[in-house]
Amino acid sequence: MQQDSILWQRFKEGDRVAFESLIRTYYQPLFEYGRKFTSDRDALKDHVHDLFTNLWERREALGQTDCIRPYLLKSLRNRIYKEKQRSDVFEEADQHDSTQFGFEEDEETRIISNELSDEKKLQIKHILSTLTRRQQEIIHLKFYQNLSNDQIAELLVISRPAVANLLYQTLKLFREKWQVLLYTFFSVLLFD
């Protein structure tokens, strides 16, 4: 994380190359994370755009950080939530653990998984889409973003043991669902 603090320091001093590098490194992870909350790609791009431009404007006032990723993820999350609070439609969606957010299951995925294709990727995607939004988010933060439990706790504003517990329960559920799916698959093979 030494590199992170050098990069951050140079960015704070107004170095445009460091700033561009920051954007290039974190744009995709931010976009991936944001897609868990909204399916409107253009609105999401605007959010990330505003996040970075705001970061540049405030760079001198920003503190030191050696963990850029959790910091940026949290900023994006707050931004999207603030926006949602302004709009009642989103607020309602947020209170339910709606599966319309997050790992969306597109038409194609559904058709293929109904045919019980052995494409593991699609199976996994399918199982994810049956989890609650909170469960999907914590899996994304742990695996895709590779955050520590402490960082996740801070981001989701829950305790560290709660993170560990939620993660473990989610993965257990995931495994159970996967085994059911595998079992169905094999039984179809045997008895079809």
């Binding site: 590199q3 050098i6 445009r16 190359v17 460091a18 700033f19 744009y27 790992f103």
Partner: protein
């Protein structure tokens, strides 16, 4: 070794070391996890399952395309760039002027880059990562024109930068007995000889080192090509620099040889440039006129003229003599003629020519 006896699928999934290994961030992991697999054969199936799940969870699935990303990066740089010019109009120290000037260059280059650089995200990404790690003021030169641009480095070396390519180097060019340049795009280097301070070029995962020479580097998309015109150059994957004693992946290139580095596989292969040029005219023979000369002599003249090693079986070819007048043909045409005359054939392998023939009676 930790006790993996009671390890479940969840435990493997949540094991930081295991995840880092699957994600390819822990190269030492191969040994550790292979050993665990040997000690706990009953866990192998679980490890495979965990691997599949991890690989699928760390994959991007938002469908953000490279051109989209470029567009968004440019949009942010432009929005912030406009305000920047106003903000910078306060007194600056002379040294800061350089970085201010450099940032203006970067800004305009990016505005223009939208159309031209779209196909090179991998190389550009690697470049900005290298550059961001340097804790030192850098100068960046971007060729925004349509023609190649000549850049003179502080040590007198000359770089010809192809349109829309960029290089960066430290303001104090020689540091720790090294001259270091970072490149994305294509550039021809004519390096000033300085044995004490070797010259290093970093481009998309490949490090090229030289003492004094001229060579071309093409780091446009996923691959990097290095073509040597004169002198000697070594290339090594940047990832392997730290452990060269263990796996020696450094390759030496001589004139007219070329290296192709695949950033994806971290592998270098060596071959011969498409059209080799003569590096020295042989002194004794003004041209390539051979009047009943032994084949060994012919090969050695070609070898010297083009600097390309030619390997052949001396014992077999001992009785072959050649009567032929060659002049401006390309290297490969000359080689064709020579080989046909003595009933031999050749192959290009690892930047060398391998001759095979049955000899002459």
């Amino acid at each position: 070794m930790k006790d993996y006896h009671n390890y479940t699928l969840e435990d493997f999934l949540l094991d930081d070391q295991f995840r880092a290994w699957i994600a390819g961030q822990d190269h030492a992991g191969d040994e550790i996890w292979n050993e665990i697999a040997i000690h706990y054969p009953e866990k192998v199936a679980l490890m495979y399952q965990a691997r599949e799940i991890i690989l699928s969870l760390i994959a991007s699935n938002s469908g953000l395309s490279a051109p989209e990303l470029e567009n968004e990066v440019n949009r942010i740089m432009q929005t912030t760039g406009k305000k920047e010019i106003v903000a910078k109009s306060r007194p600056l120290f002379p040294i800061k002027w350089f970085s201010a000037a450099a940032s203006v260059i970067i800004f305009t280059a990016i505005g223009w880059k939208i159309t031209s650089d779209i196909n090179q995200p991998q190389s550009v990404k690697a470049y900005s990562q290298y550059v961001s790690r340097i804790d030192e003021p850098l100068l960046e030169i971007v060729n925004e024109t349509n023609v190649s641009k000549q850049v003179k480095l502080p040590d007198g070396s000359v770089v010809k930068l192809t349109p829309s390519s960029r290089i960066s180097y430290a303001e104090t060019f020689v540091r720790n007995h090294k001259r270091e340049v970072y490149l994305t795009g294509e550039a021809f280097f004519d390096v000033e000889k300085d044995v004490k301070n070797p010259f290093f070029v970093y481009a998309n995962g490949l490090l090229t080192r030289v003492v004094g020479t001229s060579f071309l580097i093409r780091a446009i998309d996923a691959d990097v090509e290095v073509l040597v015109r004169s002198g000697r150059v070594t290339v090594v994957p940047i990832r392997d620099i730290a452990h060269q004693e263990k796996k020696n992946t450094e390759l030496l290139l001589t004139p007219n040889q070329q290296a192709l580095f695949s950033a994806k596989d971290n592998l270098i292969s060596k071959s011969i440039v498409e059209t080799p040029v003569e590096i020295t005219k042989p002194e004794s023979e003004p041209d390539f006129v051979f009047d009943n000369r032994p084949i060994g002599e012919v090969f050695s003249i070609l070898e010297k003229a083009y600097g390309i090693p030619i390997i052949y079986d001396e014992a077999v070819m001992r009785h072959c003599f050649l009567r032929v007048a060659l002049s401006n043909e390309s290297f490969f045409s000359k080689l064709d003629i020579v080989c046909k005359t003595v009933g031999a054939s050749y192959q290009v392998r690892d930047g060398q020519i391998i001759i095979s023939g049955e000899g002459c009676e």
